[in-house]
């Protein structure tokens, strides 16, 4: 038996995903350890976002397998037959994975605080008063304690995204996925979001981040994954990827986004 400590938190094994005739993930394999911060970079259309979305089953995969905490995602073996998991089971699996979206996707009919405490109350069955207390602390952590009673429409993009991060953190996810969290923001609002993400990464939260903020990637990543043409092209430390790796595709991409060696 393999001791559980050696099981990676996320294991993506030979995953292929197609949209019609278009292959968006082509035999992708990747492992993420607990506490690790993995940043995915690459040209748009490379499959970075799709890879994140397959982890919490917002996209179904066509072949291969994904494991989170050693558990097969979306399927289970029952008496020697591989079956789709039940809806309840899929919901349970999603709870351990938090997600922050490019478009924030805050619930528009709820205040910032209600957004943060809704899932803890309805899913984790935490008492409303306790959830409120924890929710306010989380909003304080992202610097928005004074905006608790504001609706998303009354917040700037950067503030909305920080609420969205607090909302994801409220479920205490084992892994937190960020799908281009700053791409929809005005340039002057990007830093406030990156600051919060940096702070979370310092607290040992396992994170997978798709981003075009190369300086940020270089700074917070334990490992950087370069994707292009639906495949993982290179995996390495920030130094390897940004400085020493000779891969021509990678160098061309980094040159195009203005990264100097």
């Amino acid at each position: 038996m393999t001791p559980t400590t050696t099981v990676p938190l996320v294991r993506v094994a030979g995953v292929t995903k197609r949209f019609g005739r278009l292959t968006v993930l082509d035999d992708v394999s990747l492992e993420v350890e607990t506490g690790e911060v993995v940043v995915l970079i690459g040209p748009s259309g490379a499959g970075k976002s799709t890879l994140l979305r397959t982890l919490n089953q917002l996209e179904a995969i066509d072949s291969g397998a994904i494991y989170v905490a050693g558990e097969l995602v979306g399927y289970e073996m029952v008496n020697g037959t591989l079956l789709h998991r039940t809806k309840e089971d899929i919901t349970r699996q999603r709870r351990r994975i938090g997600m922050v979206f490019q478009q924030f996707n805050l619930f528009q009919h709820m205040t910032a605080l209600q957004n943060v405490i809704h899932a803890p109350i309805k899913v984790k069955r935490i008492k409303s008063a306790d959830a409120k207390k924890a929710g306010l602390e989380l909003l304080d952590r992202v610097g928005l304690a004074d905006r608790a009673d504001h609706y998303p429409s009354e917040l700037s993009g950067g503030q909305q995204q920080r609420v969205a991060i607090a909302r994801a953190l409220a479920m205490e996810p084992e892994i937190l996925l960020f799908d281009e969290p700053t791409s929809a923001l005005d340039p002057e609002l990007v830093d406030e979001v990156l600051r919060v993400m940096r702070q979370i990464s310092e607290q040992g939260q396992t994170m997978m981040i798709v981003t075009h903020e190369m300086n940020f990637a270089r700074e917070v990543a334990d490992r950087v994954v370069f994707m292009a043409d639906s495949r993982i092209q290179e995996i390495g430390t920030p130094d390897e990827i940004f400085s020493t790796n000779p891969n021509a595709r990678l160098r061309a991409f980094l040159g195009a986004v203005g990264v100097k060696r």
């Binding site: 996707n105 309805k122 479920m171």
Partner: protein, 308 residues
Amino acid sequence: MQSTLQPEIDISTARHRHRPSQWVASVLVLAIAALIIWTFATNKNVDWGVIMKYLTFPSILDGLWTTIWLTVAAMAIGIVGGVVLASCRLSPNVLLKGAADVYVWFFRGTPLLVQLIFWYNIAIFIPRVEIGIPFTNVTFFSASTNDVVSPLGAALLGLALNEAAYMCEVVRGGLLSVSSGQSEAAQSLGLSGRQTFTQIVLPQAMRAIVPPTGNQVIGMLKGTSLVSVMAVYDLFYSAQAIYTTNGKVIPLLIVACIWYLIITSILYLFQSRLERRFARGIVRPPAKRKSNRQASSRTTVGLEGAAR
């Protein structure tokens, strides 16, 4: 150049120009209004004594009550049916979707009056209602259709089934107006499919569902007058019954119209409150900057309602 030399001009004191066409239009409207009022005031057929007498006449109030509960019951069934049909039409299950498509196609494609007369004569089509095991002789329950489906039941059935088809489209439009990112966020937080629908998608869809539903309720209130062809004593048929015996056609039609107007006015107020309730997060009532938009959206709804 000029403007920089004349800083003392402040456009906040500017006045609107009066255009002659506006004067003409105003005079025309006033003239028409005066003509209508004069016609009603001097017309011998508009007997206000008779109108006041029949406004609270027992059979009229009974009819009013029938109209109200028929509206409420048919709308309630129609809304529930509409939600079910809408979720079927949005379902990935091809059979469910197909069945709902055909339902909506049929009930929207045939006149309500024809449907009502069909339900009224359902006993000709299906003489006996039996509950048992299909294709066998086992029967648990059997009765004449006329005993089971009264004219009032047929009226309710006809109105509700027709309404469900329209409410389906209203609900479906509302659900589609909520971005898919909302349910993705809910799912990734671990909310179940049902929770995602009832707690996240539906409350936001309500903003798009309430105004057209208000129109549907008002349409239904007036649509119930069609059941007079089934000899159901609703408000209109009760008025008809009186004027066929005493010949006071116009006063009794006015009596019916007054009651219809009173109820639609109450519904209108109720709808405005509902709309404010579901506008949470989009339009905040105390915020003045949004009041323009709110007012204009309500005007639109009012006009649509009136046009029906």
